[in-house]
Amino acid sequence: MGNLMSTSFAPECTDLKQKYDACFNYWYTEKFLKGKSVYNECEDLWADYKECIDIHLQKQGIKPMLDEARKEAPFENGGIPVDKSNEK
């Protein structure tokens, strides 16, 4: 699906990211959507990629902004802001 792949915010991580993306896109279409998967494959590739971006999130000063946003709208909450889910 499309030949062009997106790049990472950190050029150093783009290679690792694209390897992971290729694996994930296949898993998503062939396994996840078809209900054939019982676990998140491509985890190993993601771990390498994550290691790289974690360094650069810190270096480029993105980490603090991210942490703030995570508190406001937790991943576990599906990204719904905490103040909103309290209203419901």
Binding site: M1, G2, L4, M5, S6, T7, S8, F9, A10, C13, K17, Y20, D21, F24, N25, Y28, T29, F32, L33, G35, S37, V38, Y39, N40, W46, Y49, K50, I53, L57, I62, M65, L66, E68, A69, R70, E72, A73, F75, G78, G79, I80, P81
Partner: protein, 214 residues
């Protein structure tokens, strides 16, 4: 707070659209997106859900004259959390800007689901964006003034250094000029003396002729 609402339809199956969503960037129309990163991704096989946290990196979309608001940063970041429910066939993405969020926050929710009328061939897209500005006019003015004072200081320093170098260069020419002027004045004096003595001589002759001289 202002709300933006939109509903669109795509003439493709939800499966296809949800898979293509991961490959949305780069595309010809969204050149401002320069990076897409997966920060976290969890699959719950019991619920059949996949939750993904992504960081979207954009080239700063704000006009150049407003750049002072973000301190000259040329990139902006958006955090997005998406939940895909493969049983319900829904893809829900929630995103919020990380950059400039003290001034303006755009909280967007997007849902892709099969079109109820033709679920196999069409996908419905609903988008809600809540836009909240936090900055008062006063804050913006303060920021503008701070920036202007800083800029003025920078330019003033540059101005001083620039004029210093001009002064230094002209100094040499100035001394050169002063020397030349002195020489010229000396020459003029000399010439004047010559002329004056000539005149005196001639006046003396005339006086003799007309007997003015005693």
């Amino acid at each position: 707070m202002k709300v933006f609402n939109s509903t669109q339809f795509y003439n493709y199956s939800w499966d296809y659209v949800s898979a293509a969503n991961w490959c949305k960037y780069p595309n010809e129309l969204s050149t401002h997106v320069v990076g897409v990163d997966v920060l976290r991704r969890e699959f719950d096989p019991n619920k059949g859900t996949l939750t993904t946290e992504r960081l979207i990196t954009c080239k700063q979309p704000i006009p150049r004259w407003l750049m002072f608001l973000v301190g000259g940063q040329d990139k902006s970041y958006v955090r997005e959390v998406s939940v895909i429910d493969r049983n319900q066939r829904t893809l829900t993405m929630r995103s919020c800007n990380l950059t400039m969020c003290k001034l303006l926050r755009v909280y967007e929710t997007v849902v892709y689901r099969p079109d109820p009328v033709s679920p196999v061939t069409r996908t419905r897209f609903d988008q809600v964006a809540e836009i909240t500005a936090f900055a008062s006019l006063r804050q913006l003015c303060d920021k503008l003034e701070d920036w202007s004072v800083e800029r003025f200081g920078q330019n003033a320093r540059k101005g001083k250094l620039g004029f210093d170098s001009v002064l230094k260069n002209l100094e040499e020419q100035w001394h050169g000029l002063a020397d030349k002027t002195q020489t010229l004045l000396d020459e003029v004096n000399e010439k004047t003396n010559d002329v004056m003595s000539g005149v005196n001589e001639k006046t003396g002759d005339l006086a003799k002729i007309f007997g003015y001289r005693n």
